[in-house]
């Protein structure tokens, strides 16, 4: 598979010369359009990235950045107003490459659960309320024409135990008998039933209490270690990326503006938007420091500003940012950015020393 060196986040070596053998998912120049009564707009603009085997990639950005749309596009589950306008999604298993956009509807249905499962935002409410958890597992299994209900029970029990649930009790329970955090863990277990290589999680901890969030984070980390699947974690929460990601992709106005190894994202961000997001949240509990707001608000995608979409809010913006599309440049190993002033930003923000844990 050929790849341009300027493609953002296309590999750990910055997109140069690495074989695609390690990638389970290769996304190239993906565009998604939405049709609304007020006009059409592109919600995802030219997303290009690779997801490597067993890797955890976080997709961060604020509401309207296109991160959920990108996640839905990867499994071709866009809402009816959305359309995948352009691009390529290649999935790889056992050295065989699959063009996801060319799959028949039956093969696509199987792809969605057996190869690339997704846990949707607010998914605690998607379990069928009139089925016990056991029946939801059996249904999923049958829908994929697998045989043997005993095997499935054993697998369901294993998975439920892995997500720290009392398997016997939970299998007999109806969804309303479980708390939000328990339902979320049931869904994660269910999504892993057919051993997918990729798990996409959209805001898996949003709206859950802190102790429940912690339980979900610990469960995800353990599952990933034990089962070795790759994850794409979509979240507005930088902390979730700090917890779970190997690499972080920052989205703004439908574009991936920076893709970097997680420590680069947090300790030496090269895109002014990534840096501004970090400066807008308290550093850590126990280290009160000033936070600074990002002026202005995200652009209207029906009428985005010319050039770099962040320029109206960017402290580093110069005349050139307002004129032409911003090229993607490699910053370092596996670190790509769409900003012409990244060198100045890096110079101004010397890397923070490695933080010691608070006692």
């Amino acid at each position: 598979m050929e790849r341009s060196v300027t493609h953002l986040g296309s590999g750990p070596s910055g997109g140069t010369g690495r074989s695609s053998g390690a990638a389970v998912l290769s996304v190239q120049d993906l565009w998604v359009d939405y049709w609304t009564p007020r006009g059409a707009f592109a919600a995802v603009r030219g997303a290009t990235f690779d997801l490597h085997r067993g890797e955890s990639l976080a997709l961060i950005g604020e509401s309207g950045s296109g991160k959920t749309t990108l996640g839905l596009a990867l499994v071709l589950l866009l809402p009816s107003a959305g359309r995948l306008a352009r691009g390529r999604i290649a999935y790889q298993r056992d050295n065989q490459q699959v063009d996801v956009l060319a799959l028949s509807s039956e093969r696509l249905r199987r792809f969605r659960w057996e190869e690339c499962a997704m846990v949707f935002q607010g998914a605690q409410n998607v379990l069928n309320p009139v089925l016990t958890v056991r029946d939801q597992f059996v249904d999923t299994y049958r829908a994929h024409q697998r045989e043997g209900s005993r095997a499935i029970e054993a697998r369901a029990r294993d998975l439920l135990r892995m997500v720290q649930l009392d398997a016997e009790r939970v299998l007999r329970a109806y969804p309303h008998e479980l708390s939000g955090g328990m339902r979320q863990r049931v869904l994660i277990a269910l999504s892993l039933l057919l051993s997918p290589q990729i798990l996409i999680l959209d805001e898996p901890t949003t709206a859950l209490d802190i102790l429940t969030q912690r339980a979900i984070i610990d469960v995800l980390r353990r599952l990933k270690d034990q089962l070795g699947f790759a994850t794409i974690i979509i979240s507005h929460d930088l902390s979730l990326a700090a917890e779970l990601a190997d690499r972080v992709a920052t989205m703004y106005a439908g574009r991936l503006v920076e893709v970097a190894p997680v420590r680069k994202t947090f300790y030496s961000p090269a895109h002014p938007y990534t840096a501004a997001l970090l400066d807008a949240v308290p550093k850590a509990v126990g280290r009160a420091a000033a936070i600074s707001a990002i002026p202005g608000s995200p652009p209207d995608l029906r009428n985005p500003p010319p050039g770099c979409p962040f320029h109206p809010r960017c402290a580093y913006a110069v005349e050139r940012c307002k004129q032409a599309e911003v090229p993607v440049e490699p910053v370092g190993a596996g670190h790509d950015v769409a900003c012409i002033r990244w060198r100045d930003l890096l110079r101004d923000r010397r890397p923070r020393p490695t933080a010691a844990p608070v006692s």
Binding site: L211, H236, F266, A284, A288, A293
Partner: protein, 344 residues
Amino acid sequence: MALLIEVEHAVQTFRTPRGVVHALNDVSIAIEAGQVLCLVGESGSGKTTLGKLVAGLRRPTSGRLLFEGQDVWKADKRTFDAYRRAVQIVHQDPYASLNPVQKVRDMLAAPLERHRLTRGAETTRRIREILAMVDLTPPDDYIDKFPHQLSGGQRQRVSIARALTLGPRLVVADEAVSMVDTSIRASLLNTLLRLRAELRVTFLFITHDLGIAEYFGQSGDTAVMYLGRIVERAPTGDLVANSQHPYTRALLAAIPEPDPDLTRAKPKVALRSLEIPSLLRLPSGCTFHPRCPLFEPGLCDVVSPELVWLNARREVACHVVAREAGNGKVAVAQGAELDERLAR
């Protein structure tokens, strides 16, 4: 400094078809004029119920609410009205709390004119002033807008502006910055901090996020709530730096931080159960005992711990912590040793 608001032994129960919900179980708080108290807790902790009680939107099942020393629910109408004017609440959801068919001007004019604070052109002038105070500038860009023409952050600023129209002494901010995006939240918090300093307004600041409490409540106290009780209270910086109650420790250890090295190296608190008990059937004794790593059978599941002063600055409701403090152990058993015991 004089106490502006006091809640004494408040109990709040709700009857539901499934039984009686115990939302608040003997909670007392007091805030001095000009100070800030942050309430931190998870869902079901009672923090919102306590906020509504302080704002006079709900009368407690038992217990008293005092405003400048006067029992609000026994006061005459004039005193009660003065209290209601002096205490305003800002809700979490600016989509639900603003009338969708009212312009900003009308929303802010109504309280001003109803309370005969301003009339006619003076009202408009005052509205402009208030909009500028909440950083909606220039005010003329916002005054004739409907809520749907504003962003989430701007709507929340209108909610704050509305709370300011009557010149409140106390603002109850209930998750006031929780629903807005990261880039907007910082500016909203900074606006609230500036208003606090400029107007000397007292704040009851309610949040599920200890990081936000720490930022907003730097100069005040923070109380941690669990299942309708306060389990620990201290000056905000102290509370975070040297928490004692096992629930506070668990909460602090659980918070994901936006710093990969730090967050992955956090000490873990091994809770005995991940599930939060139902408010319909509260556990006996200390309500945290089914989850608590310091649980001692025969004590914690039998006797409900009182909130006691551990030292001059900190109150804690925990049998084990209080006993060890009595033994002088806390002075040496802070930090690492406690972490180790909690992580067993």
